[in-house]
Protein backbone atom coordinates (compact mmCIF):
# COMPACT_ATOMS: atom_id res chain seq x y z
CA UNK A 1 0.00 0.00 0.00
CA UNK A 2 2.99 2.28 0.41
CA UNK A 3 3.05 2.73 -3.36
CA UNK A 4 -0.34 4.43 -3.26
CA UNK A 5 0.38 7.85 -4.74
CA UNK A 6 -2.77 9.29 -3.21
CA UNK A 7 -1.15 8.96 0.21
CA UNK A 8 2.08 10.73 -0.61
CA UNK A 9 1.16 13.29 -3.25
CA UNK A 10 0.06 16.54 -1.61
CA UNK A 11 -2.12 17.47 -4.54
CA UNK A 12 -4.64 14.86 -3.44
CA UNK A 13 -5.24 16.98 -0.36
CA UNK A 14 -6.78 19.67 -2.58
CA UNK A 15 -9.19 17.15 -4.10
CA UNK A 16 -9.87 15.78 -0.64
CA UNK A 17 -10.81 19.25 0.61
CA UNK A 18 -13.30 19.68 -2.23
CA UNK A 19 -14.89 16.32 -1.58
CA UNK A 20 -15.11 17.09 2.12
CA UNK A 21 -16.90 20.36 1.37
CA UNK A 22 -19.70 18.34 -0.22
CA UNK A 23 -19.81 15.86 2.64
CA UNK A 24 -18.33 13.17 0.37
CA UNK A 25 -21.67 13.02 -1.41
CA UNK A 26 -22.17 12.30 -5.07
CA UNK A 27 -23.23 15.84 -5.95
CA UNK A 28 -19.64 16.92 -5.34
CA UNK A 29 -18.35 14.72 -8.17
CA UNK A 30 -18.00 17.40 -10.83
CA UNK A 31 -16.42 19.85 -8.38
CA UNK A 32 -13.99 17.11 -7.36
CA UNK A 33 -13.10 16.51 -10.99
CA UNK A 34 -12.53 20.25 -11.45
CA UNK A 35 -10.16 20.24 -8.47
CA UNK A 36 -8.33 17.20 -9.75
CA UNK A 37 -7.91 18.64 -13.21
CA UNK A 38 -6.65 21.90 -11.74
CA UNK A 39 -4.18 20.04 -9.54
CA UNK A 40 -2.85 17.61 -12.14
CA UNK A 41 -3.71 19.22 -15.45
CA UNK A 42 -5.64 16.12 -16.50
CA UNK A 43 -7.53 13.19 -15.03
CA UNK A 44 -5.75 9.85 -14.95
CA UNK A 45 -7.04 6.46 -13.85
CA UNK A 46 -5.43 6.64 -10.41
CA UNK A 47 -7.16 9.93 -9.65
CA UNK A 48 -10.50 8.84 -11.04
CA UNK A 49 -10.39 5.64 -9.00
CA UNK A 50 -9.43 7.64 -5.93
CA UNK A 51 -12.45 9.92 -6.41
CA UNK A 52 -14.75 6.95 -7.05
CA UNK A 53 -13.57 5.23 -3.85
CA UNK A 54 -13.79 8.34 -1.71
CA UNK A 55 -17.25 9.28 -2.93
CA UNK A 56 -18.38 5.63 -2.94
CA UNK A 57 -19.44 5.88 -6.56
CA UNK A 58 -19.34 3.26 -9.31
CA UNK A 59 -16.16 3.69 -11.35
CA UNK A 60 -18.17 3.59 -14.56
CA UNK A 61 -20.25 6.54 -13.41
CA UNK A 62 -17.17 8.61 -12.55
CA UNK A 63 -15.71 7.76 -15.92
CA UNK A 64 -18.99 8.56 -17.66
CA UNK A 65 -19.12 11.99 -16.06
CA UNK A 66 -15.44 12.74 -16.68
CA UNK A 67 -15.80 11.97 -20.39
CA UNK A 68 -19.11 13.79 -20.85
CA UNK A 69 -17.78 17.29 -20.27
CA UNK A 70 -15.42 18.94 -22.73
CA UNK A 71 -13.29 20.70 -20.14
CA UNK A 72 -12.12 17.48 -18.58
CA UNK A 73 -9.29 15.72 -20.29
CA UNK A 74 -7.87 12.26 -19.67
CA UNK A 75 -4.68 13.04 -21.56
CA UNK A 76 -1.80 15.13 -20.23
CA UNK A 77 -1.69 18.52 -21.91
CA UNK A 78 1.33 20.37 -23.19
CA UNK A 79 3.26 22.74 -20.95
CA UNK A 80 1.38 25.63 -22.56
CA UNK A 81 -2.02 25.87 -24.14
CA UNK A 82 -3.38 27.98 -26.93
CA UNK A 83 -7.15 27.93 -27.24
CA UNK A 84 -8.84 29.18 -30.41
CA UNK A 85 -12.41 30.38 -29.99
CA UNK A 86 -14.72 28.94 -32.64
CA UNK A 87 -17.83 30.80 -31.51
CA UNK A 88 -20.06 32.33 -34.17
CA UNK A 89 -18.64 35.82 -34.04
CA UNK A 90 -15.07 34.52 -34.23
CA UNK A 91 -16.03 32.00 -36.88
CA UNK A 92 -17.45 34.54 -39.29
CA UNK A 93 -14.40 36.72 -38.72
CA UNK A 94 -12.01 33.98 -39.75
CA UNK A 95 -11.30 31.82 -36.68
CA UNK A 96 -11.06 28.74 -38.84
CA UNK A 97 -8.18 30.20 -40.81
CA UNK A 98 -6.49 31.23 -37.57
CA UNK A 99 -6.77 27.66 -36.31
CA UNK A 100 -5.47 26.31 -39.61
CA UNK A 101 -2.44 28.60 -39.40
CA UNK A 102 -1.62 27.37 -35.91
CA UNK A 103 -2.16 23.74 -36.87
CA UNK A 104 0.17 24.14 -39.80
CA UNK A 105 2.84 26.03 -37.87
CA UNK A 106 2.97 23.57 -34.97
CA UNK A 107 2.05 20.45 -36.92
CA UNK A 108 -0.80 19.50 -34.62
CA UNK A 109 -4.50 18.89 -35.04
CA UNK A 110 -6.93 20.82 -32.84
CA UNK A 111 -7.05 19.06 -29.49
CA UNK A 112 -3.49 17.80 -29.86
CA UNK A 113 -0.12 18.61 -28.38
CA UNK A 114 3.18 19.25 -30.13
CA UNK A 115 5.67 16.41 -30.16
CA UNK A 116 7.91 18.24 -27.69
CA UNK A 117 4.92 18.55 -25.32
CA UNK A 118 5.36 22.32 -25.23
CA UNK A 119 2.09 23.46 -26.76
CA UNK A 120 -1.46 22.13 -26.88
CA UNK A 121 -3.71 23.71 -29.49
CA UNK A 122 -7.32 23.50 -28.37
CA UNK A 123 -10.63 24.97 -29.47
CA UNK A 124 -13.46 26.46 -27.45
CA UNK A 125 -17.09 27.21 -28.12
CA UNK A 126 -17.15 30.86 -27.09
CA UNK A 127 -15.26 32.93 -24.56
CA UNK A 128 -17.94 35.60 -24.70
CA UNK A 129 -15.31 38.11 -25.86
CA UNK A 130 -17.05 38.39 -29.21
CA UNK A 131 -16.28 42.08 -29.57
CA UNK A 132 -12.62 41.13 -29.90
CA UNK A 133 -13.28 38.45 -32.50
CA UNK A 134 -11.42 36.44 -33.55
CA UNK A 135 -10.05 35.61 -30.13
CA UNK A 136 -7.48 33.14 -28.85
CA UNK A 137 -6.00 32.59 -25.43
CA UNK A 138 -2.46 31.65 -24.52
CA UNK A 139 -2.14 30.18 -21.02
CA UNK A 140 -5.27 32.06 -20.02
CA UNK A 141 -4.26 35.40 -21.48
CA UNK A 142 -6.82 36.66 -23.99
CA UNK A 143 -5.48 37.85 -27.33
CA UNK A 144 -8.10 39.57 -29.45
CA UNK A 145 -8.47 40.48 -33.14
CA UNK A 146 -5.90 37.98 -34.28
CA UNK A 147 -5.18 37.25 -37.94
CA UNK A 148 -3.95 34.08 -39.64
CA UNK A 149 -0.87 35.86 -40.95
CA UNK A 150 0.36 37.12 -37.60
CA UNK A 151 -1.05 34.75 -35.01
CA UNK A 152 1.79 32.26 -35.20
CA UNK A 153 4.27 35.02 -34.51
CA UNK A 154 2.26 36.17 -31.49
CA UNK A 155 2.29 32.66 -30.07
CA UNK A 156 5.95 32.13 -30.88
CA UNK A 157 6.87 35.31 -29.00
CA UNK A 158 4.91 34.25 -25.95
CA UNK A 159 6.28 30.72 -26.05
CA UNK A 160 9.81 32.08 -26.22
CA UNK A 161 9.12 34.45 -23.33
CA UNK A 162 7.70 31.79 -21.00
CA UNK A 163 10.37 29.29 -21.93
CA UNK A 164 13.06 31.84 -21.16
CA UNK A 165 11.67 32.61 -17.72
CA UNK A 166 11.35 28.89 -17.05
Amino acid sequence: MSADPTASDKRYKIIEATMRRYGYQSHGLIEALHSAQEAFGYLDDVTLWHIARTLHLPPSKVFGVATFYNLFTLKPQGAHTCVVCLGTACYIKGAREVLAALEAEYDVKAGGTTRDNQLSVLTARCFGSCALAPVITFDGETIGKVAPATVTQQIAQRLAAVQQTA
Binding site: D45, L48, W49, P58, P59, S60, K61, V62, F63, G64, T67, F68
Partner: protein, 237 residues
Protein backbone atom coordinates in the same frame (compact mmCIF):
# COMPACT_ATOMS: atom_id res chain seq x y z
CA UNK B 1 -58.67 6.95 -8.92
CA UNK B 2 -59.20 5.40 -12.32
CA UNK B 3 -58.80 7.56 -15.37
CA UNK B 4 -60.74 7.27 -18.59
CA UNK B 5 -58.99 8.07 -21.83
CA UNK B 6 -59.12 7.10 -25.46
CA UNK B 7 -56.33 5.53 -27.44
CA UNK B 8 -56.90 5.51 -31.19
CA UNK B 9 -60.54 6.20 -30.50
CA UNK B 10 -60.92 3.21 -28.20
CA UNK B 11 -62.11 4.14 -24.72
CA UNK B 12 -60.02 2.57 -21.97
CA UNK B 13 -59.57 3.06 -18.26
CA UNK B 14 -56.29 3.16 -16.40
CA UNK B 15 -54.91 3.86 -12.96
CA UNK B 16 -53.79 7.45 -12.41
CA UNK B 17 -50.17 6.35 -11.82
CA UNK B 18 -49.97 4.47 -15.11
CA UNK B 19 -48.16 5.74 -18.17
CA UNK B 20 -49.79 5.86 -21.57
CA UNK B 21 -47.63 2.89 -22.54
CA UNK B 22 -48.79 0.79 -19.58
CA UNK B 23 -52.41 1.70 -20.19
CA UNK B 24 -52.04 0.78 -23.84
CA UNK B 25 -50.37 -2.54 -23.00
CA UNK B 26 -53.24 -3.41 -20.65
CA UNK B 27 -55.68 -2.69 -23.45
CA UNK B 28 -53.64 -4.77 -25.92
CA UNK B 29 -52.74 -1.75 -27.99
CA UNK B 30 -49.20 -2.06 -29.24
CA UNK B 31 -46.94 1.01 -29.15
CA UNK B 32 -43.45 0.42 -30.57
CA UNK B 33 -40.54 0.76 -28.14
CA UNK B 34 -36.79 0.16 -28.08
CA UNK B 35 -35.33 1.66 -24.90
CA UNK B 36 -38.26 0.55 -22.77
CA UNK B 37 -38.05 -2.77 -20.98
CA UNK B 38 -40.52 -4.06 -18.42
CA UNK B 39 -38.74 -4.14 -15.08
CA UNK B 40 -36.50 -1.10 -15.73
CA UNK B 41 -37.20 2.60 -15.25
CA UNK B 42 -38.02 4.50 -18.41
CA UNK B 43 -35.79 7.18 -19.92
CA UNK B 44 -37.73 8.29 -22.99
CA UNK B 45 -34.65 8.14 -25.18
CA UNK B 46 -35.47 6.18 -28.32
CA UNK B 47 -38.53 8.29 -29.26
CA UNK B 48 -40.19 5.27 -30.91
CA UNK B 49 -43.14 5.47 -28.51
CA UNK B 50 -43.93 9.12 -29.22
CA UNK B 51 -47.68 9.60 -29.49
CA UNK B 52 -49.98 12.45 -30.41
CA UNK B 53 -52.07 13.76 -27.54
CA UNK B 54 -54.92 16.11 -28.38
CA UNK B 55 -54.17 19.59 -27.07
CA UNK B 56 -50.45 18.95 -26.50
CA UNK B 57 -48.17 21.12 -28.59
CA UNK B 58 -45.48 18.44 -28.74
CA UNK B 59 -45.37 14.72 -29.31
CA UNK B 60 -45.11 12.88 -25.99
CA UNK B 61 -43.24 9.68 -25.11
CA UNK B 62 -45.82 7.11 -24.04
CA UNK B 63 -43.31 5.46 -21.70
CA UNK B 64 -42.85 8.47 -19.40
CA UNK B 65 -46.12 10.36 -19.78
CA UNK B 66 -48.79 9.59 -17.21
CA UNK B 67 -52.39 9.18 -18.26
CA UNK B 68 -54.84 11.98 -17.60
CA UNK B 69 -58.59 12.09 -17.46
CA UNK B 70 -60.08 12.61 -20.87
CA UNK B 71 -56.78 12.27 -22.68
CA UNK B 72 -57.13 11.55 -26.39
CA UNK B 73 -54.14 9.63 -27.67
CA UNK B 74 -53.23 8.64 -31.20
CA UNK B 75 -50.46 6.06 -31.47
CA UNK B 76 -50.37 5.15 -35.14
CA UNK B 77 -50.84 8.15 -37.40
CA UNK B 78 -49.14 8.52 -40.75
CA UNK B 79 -46.87 11.20 -39.30
CA UNK B 80 -45.78 8.98 -36.40
CA UNK B 81 -45.17 6.05 -38.74
CA UNK B 82 -42.95 8.24 -40.92
CA UNK B 83 -40.96 9.46 -37.91
CA UNK B 84 -40.51 5.92 -36.59
CA UNK B 85 -39.17 4.72 -39.90
CA UNK B 86 -36.71 7.62 -40.00
CA UNK B 87 -35.52 6.85 -36.48
CA UNK B 88 -34.92 3.19 -37.33
CA UNK B 89 -33.10 4.16 -40.52
CA UNK B 90 -30.89 6.55 -38.53
CA UNK B 91 -29.94 3.67 -36.22
CA UNK B 92 -29.11 1.33 -39.08
CA UNK B 93 -26.92 4.02 -40.68
CA UNK B 94 -25.23 5.00 -37.43
CA UNK B 95 -23.32 1.81 -36.64
CA UNK B 96 -22.61 -1.46 -38.40
CA UNK B 97 -25.77 -3.51 -38.19
CA UNK B 98 -25.17 -6.42 -40.51
CA UNK B 99 -28.09 -8.73 -39.87
CA UNK B 100 -26.73 -11.50 -42.08
CA UNK B 101 -23.74 -12.13 -39.83
CA UNK B 102 -25.25 -11.10 -36.49
CA UNK B 103 -25.64 -13.38 -33.50
CA UNK B 104 -29.11 -11.93 -32.90
CA UNK B 105 -30.38 -12.36 -36.47
CA UNK B 106 -34.00 -13.45 -36.17
CA UNK B 107 -34.21 -12.51 -32.50
CA UNK B 108 -33.44 -8.82 -32.67
CA UNK B 109 -35.69 -5.96 -31.61
CA UNK B 110 -33.99 -3.56 -34.02
CA UNK B 111 -34.46 -5.95 -36.91
CA UNK B 112 -38.10 -6.44 -35.90
CA UNK B 113 -38.57 -2.68 -35.63
CA UNK B 114 -37.22 -2.32 -39.16
CA UNK B 115 -39.88 -4.76 -40.37
CA UNK B 116 -42.59 -3.06 -38.33
CA UNK B 117 -41.88 0.38 -39.79
CA UNK B 118 -41.69 -0.99 -43.31
CA UNK B 119 -38.01 -0.24 -43.86
CA UNK B 120 -36.97 -1.70 -47.22
CA UNK B 121 -33.80 0.39 -47.41
CA UNK B 122 -31.97 3.15 -45.54
CA UNK B 123 -31.99 6.59 -47.13
CA UNK B 124 -29.07 7.96 -45.15
CA UNK B 125 -25.38 7.42 -45.73
CA UNK B 126 -23.98 4.53 -43.76
CA UNK B 127 -21.31 5.93 -41.46
CA UNK B 128 -19.23 2.77 -40.98
CA UNK B 129 -17.63 3.78 -37.66
CA UNK B 130 -14.68 1.69 -36.53
CA UNK B 131 -15.87 0.01 -33.36
CA UNK B 132 -14.55 -2.85 -31.32
CA UNK B 133 -15.74 -6.21 -30.08
CA UNK B 134 -14.88 -7.02 -26.46
CA UNK B 135 -14.46 -10.75 -25.91
CA UNK B 136 -12.42 -10.49 -22.72
CA UNK B 137 -15.18 -11.74 -20.45
CA UNK B 138 -15.20 -15.50 -20.09
CA UNK B 139 -18.93 -15.89 -20.55
CA UNK B 140 -20.16 -12.86 -22.47
CA UNK B 141 -19.18 -10.60 -25.32
CA UNK B 142 -19.93 -7.02 -26.33
CA UNK B 143 -20.04 -5.90 -29.94
CA UNK B 144 -20.22 -2.11 -30.14
CA UNK B 145 -21.06 -2.34 -33.84
CA UNK B 146 -24.55 -3.53 -32.92
CA UNK B 147 -25.15 -1.21 -29.96
CA UNK B 148 -28.00 1.31 -30.24
CA UNK B 149 -27.18 3.06 -26.93
CA UNK B 150 -30.61 2.30 -25.46
CA UNK B 151 -28.92 1.96 -22.02
CA UNK B 152 -31.06 -1.03 -21.08
CA UNK B 153 -27.87 -2.84 -19.99
CA UNK B 154 -26.82 0.18 -17.92
CA UNK B 155 -30.15 0.23 -16.14
CA UNK B 156 -30.35 -3.54 -15.66
CA UNK B 157 -26.88 -3.54 -14.09
CA UNK B 158 -27.67 -0.57 -11.87
CA UNK B 159 -31.29 -1.16 -10.92
CA UNK B 160 -31.63 -4.92 -10.79
CA UNK B 161 -28.16 -6.26 -10.11
CA UNK B 162 -27.01 -3.14 -8.27
CA UNK B 163 -23.41 -3.35 -9.48
CA UNK B 164 -23.44 -0.37 -11.87
CA UNK B 165 -20.52 -1.86 -13.75
CA UNK B 166 -21.83 -0.38 -16.98
CA UNK B 167 -22.29 3.27 -17.92
CA UNK B 168 -22.04 5.51 -20.95
CA UNK B 169 -18.86 7.43 -21.74
CA UNK B 170 -18.45 10.39 -24.04
CA UNK B 171 -21.41 12.04 -25.64
CA UNK B 172 -23.32 12.50 -28.84
CA UNK B 173 -22.34 10.23 -31.66
CA UNK B 174 -19.19 9.33 -29.72
CA UNK B 175 -21.10 7.81 -26.83
CA UNK B 176 -19.94 4.33 -25.93
CA UNK B 177 -20.98 1.71 -23.39
CA UNK B 178 -18.13 1.12 -20.93
CA UNK B 179 -17.35 -1.27 -18.11
CA UNK B 180 -15.81 0.35 -15.03
CA UNK B 181 -13.28 2.87 -16.32
CA UNK B 182 -13.41 1.68 -19.89
CA UNK B 183 -11.48 -1.52 -19.16
CA UNK B 184 -11.96 -4.79 -21.04
CA UNK B 185 -15.10 -6.37 -19.63
CA UNK B 186 -13.17 -9.36 -18.29
CA UNK B 187 -11.11 -7.00 -16.15
CA UNK B 188 -14.05 -5.07 -14.69
CA UNK B 189 -13.76 -5.74 -10.99
CA UNK B 190 -17.32 -4.68 -10.17
CA UNK B 191 -18.91 -7.10 -12.63
CA UNK B 192 -20.67 -10.05 -11.00
CA UNK B 193 -21.04 -11.90 -14.31
CA UNK B 194 -24.77 -12.18 -13.63
CA UNK B 195 -25.70 -11.72 -17.28
CA UNK B 196 -28.64 -9.38 -16.74
CA UNK B 197 -27.17 -6.91 -19.21
CA UNK B 198 -27.13 -9.64 -21.84
CA UNK B 199 -30.76 -10.46 -21.10
CA UNK B 200 -31.68 -6.80 -21.44
CA UNK B 201 -29.95 -6.16 -24.76
CA UNK B 202 -32.37 -5.68 -27.66
CA UNK B 203 -29.78 -6.40 -30.37
CA UNK B 204 -26.70 -8.47 -30.93
CA UNK B 205 -24.51 -6.04 -28.98
CA UNK B 206 -24.40 -8.24 -25.89
CA UNK B 207 -24.25 -11.98 -26.31
CA UNK B 208 -23.17 -15.22 -24.74
CA UNK B 209 -19.74 -16.41 -25.77
CA UNK B 210 -19.94 -19.16 -28.33
CA UNK B 211 -23.11 -17.88 -29.96
CA UNK B 212 -22.86 -17.82 -33.69
CA UNK B 213 -25.10 -16.25 -36.31
CA UNK B 214 -28.78 -16.22 -35.29
CA UNK B 215 -28.11 -18.21 -32.11
CA UNK B 216 -28.36 -15.49 -29.50
CA UNK B 217 -31.81 -15.41 -27.96
CA UNK B 218 -32.17 -12.77 -25.27
CA UNK B 219 -34.23 -13.36 -22.20
CA UNK B 220 -35.63 -9.88 -21.60
CA UNK B 221 -38.78 -11.03 -19.77
CA UNK B 222 -36.60 -12.45 -17.00
CA UNK B 223 -35.89 -8.94 -15.81
CA UNK B 224 -39.51 -8.06 -15.10
CA UNK B 225 -39.83 -11.44 -13.37
CA UNK B 226 -36.78 -10.66 -11.22
CA UNK B 227 -37.97 -7.20 -10.34
CA UNK B 228 -41.34 -8.47 -9.14
CA UNK B 229 -39.68 -11.27 -7.19
CA UNK B 230 -37.11 -9.02 -5.55
CA UNK B 231 -39.24 -6.03 -4.78
CA UNK B 232 -42.68 -7.47 -4.21
CA UNK B 233 -41.96 -11.11 -3.44
CA UNK B 234 -44.16 -12.13 -6.34
CA UNK B 235 -43.01 -14.94 -8.59
CA UNK B 236 -44.75 -14.66 -11.94
CA UNK B 237 -43.86 -18.09 -13.27
Amino acid sequence: MPRTLTINGQEISARSDQTILEAAQDANIRIPTLCHLDGLTDVGACRMCLVEVAGASKLLPACTTRVQEGMQVQTDTERLRAYRRQIIELLFAERNHICAVCVANGHCELQNAGIAVGMDHVRYDYLFPKLGVDLSHERFGMDHNRCILCTRCVRACDQLEGAHTIDVMGRGAHSLIVHDMNVPWGEATTCTSCGKCVMACPTGALFKQGSTVAEMVHDAEKLAFLKAARERKVWNV
